[in-house]
């Protein structure tokens, strides 16, 4: 097992090394304008510079704070709506087609409109993230309630569980697993929406930083931004959400994949 791990690590590092080597050698082999792909030293230099003046940390914090705000708003709206749809056939029939349609346009397509409504900045970006996360989480909430075994439902009902008690004792705990598992997908969509909307409607953040750099053709800024966007997502997905899953769904012995 240990040998296998080392092998996987060494092999897995190879392509990254190859990319860095190619990048370093490329200017000597192919002739292209220097602005199109600056040397590695320029990217490292920019990273140091932006760390020292605090702009990099500022942009990272701005992006993460918006993601958190949009996530909180989106989840807070999605769970009650999802419960209402899943528990009442009439509500479901009336609102499902409308919501499916709104889901089809969820996310980035709202940006031009939100710029008119909220201007450039936090309002627009948070609206788009909340909107994106709302629809992803809604789906999972509805699915979560629908997959509660009918036997459990009947058991609770036959013991007189109804109304608010039915919700707190059966529906919410029953749907919780799917809601938690769905958070990962929701945030994946939200992250995408965050970067995209910051590019159009942001005044700070990682998306803003990379798109702004296009005007000045500062590719080193763009590359640094891309690396951070990728690494942050890997950390969020692998560390934060994997831990949440392990601590909750995994510990309750409900994880089935």
């Amino acid at each position: 097992m240990k040998a296998g791990r080392t092998e996987a690590f060494v092999l897995g590092a190879l392509p990254f090394v190859a990319i860095v080597v190619t990048w370093a050698l490329l200017p000597h082999v192919v002739d292209y304008p220097a602005y199109m792909l600056p040397p590695i030293s320029a990217v490292v230099g920019y990273a140091r510079e932006s760390l020292q003046d605090g702009s990099l940390v500022h942009n990272i914090v701005a992006s993460l704070a918006r993601l958190a705000a949009g996530f909180a708003i989106g989840m807070a709206l999605a769970i009650p709506t999802g419960l209402a749809i899943a528990m009442n056939r009439h509500v479901a029939d009336v609102f499902r087609p409308l919501l499916s349609f709104l889901q089809a346009i969820a996310g980035i397509a709202w940006v031009p409109l939100t710029i008119i409504w909220f201007g450039i900045g936090n309002g627009s970006v948070i609206f788009v993230i909340a909107n994106t996360i709302f629809f992803a989480a809604l789906y999972n909430t509805v699915l979560g309630v629908e997959t509660i075994p009918l036997a459990l439902h009947r058991a609770v009902r036959s013991h007189g569980g109804r109304g608010i008690k039915l919700v707190t004792q059966l529906i919410l705990p029953g749907a919780l697993m799917q809601i938690l598992l769905g958070m990962r997908t929701s945030v994946a969509y939200g992250w995408r929406a965050l970067v995209a909307s910051e590019m159009i409607a942001g005044s700070s953040g990682l998306g803003y930083m990379t798109m702004e750099a296009v005007q000045w053709q500062r590719v080193e800024t763009i590359i640094l931004g891309m690396i951070i966007i990728g690494v942050l997502w890997v950390i969020m997905d692998r560390v934060v959400f994997a831990t949440i899953e392990r601590r909750t769904v995994g510990r309750w012995g409900l994880l089935q994949r």
Partner: protein
């Protein structure tokens, strides 16, 4: 003498089928939104630039069709989408199988692939713009990118999990490498390809709209963006509605029949998170 026959004459009762009732209720939901929207316009009391009424949107829609703009834009958008999906899927499948065939190649490349998969296509757009300028090239490249990785990754995964028993069976029956590929690897890679494509189709549609907002002069995404820029907000909303119908159309006419014909028939499951 006629016996009094109490014939149980069924009362003519008009009962709606469950489907019709559902459709009617759904239409009611949509009508509810439209009425609420129209009624709220005078209450909000803002200009049509800030908050246009449904009527304004309908006018903008008719105007767009009459001027012949809309059909061209829709055709452009769908063309880009089809090219991106086509090339991205083809490349993803080929590379997925090629990489998946060798354990060492798969081991070596999977961290990089995971990273590139995690690095959303949106983040590539600025650098594509520097390299290729604002235009169709940038959009199509971003689409190929966003389709390539989910398809590749899922294909790779299912090739790697192809049961060794089957490989051994084919080989012990005298099959060569080509036979293994044809009878074991390809069939077991199919669910991965479909899962990947399904995931990619949703991401690519959003990517298309975003790419057109940033880097196009035609298309539905451009329509949404340009309407807001030129203070014709009703146009923006008309564009969003067209976008919604396009996605529902793609989903209903292509993705669902495709899933029914493949995944569901074989009893596989699929996680389509962007569908209610």
């Amino acid at each position: 003498m006629t016996p009094a026959v109490a014939l149980a004459v069924p009362r003519a009762r008009w009962r709606m089928s469950r489907r019709t009732a559902r459709a009617l209720k759904g239409a009611f939901g949509v009508a509810l939104l439209l009425v609420a929207w129209q009624v709220s316009v005078p209450m909000v009391g803002m200009s049509a630039y800030f908050y246009p009424a449904p009527i304004d949107v309908a006018h903008a829609f008719v105007d767009l069709i009459r001027k012949g703009v809309l059909p061209v834009y829709i055709a452009d958008s769908l063309g880009r989408y089809a090219i991106g999906i086509g090339i991205g899927t083809a490349l993803g499948i080929v590379f997925g199988i090629a990489i998946g065939l060798s354990r060492r190649t798969a081991l070596a490349l999977s961290p990089l692939l995971k990273f590139l998969f995690a690095l959303v296509e949106v983040a590539w757009i600025p650098i594509f713009v520097v390299w290729f300028g604002y235009g169709v090239k940038t959009i199509v490249l971003a689409l190929i990118y966003v389709v390539f990785f989910p398809v590749l990754y899922n294909t790779l995964l299912s090739v790697r999990t192809a049961p060794a028993v089957l490989v051994n069976a084919v080989r012990s029956l005298g099959g060569g490498r080509i036979d293994v590929l044809r009878y074991v690897i390809l069939p077991s890679a199919l669910p991965g390809m479909i899962t990947g494509l399904r995931l990619a189709a949703g991401f690519a549609f959003r990517g298309l709209v975003f790419g057109e907002i940033i880097a196009a002069k035609t298309g539905v995404g451009y329509l949404i963006f340009e309407g807001a820029q030129s203070q014709q907000t009703a146009r923006t909303i008309a564009g969003m509605i067209v976008m919604g119908f396009l996605w529902l159309g793609i989903d209903q006419c292509y993705l669902r029949p495709f899933e029914r014909a493949t995944v569901q028939r074989w009893g596989l499951t699929i996680d389509a998170a962007d569908r209610l």
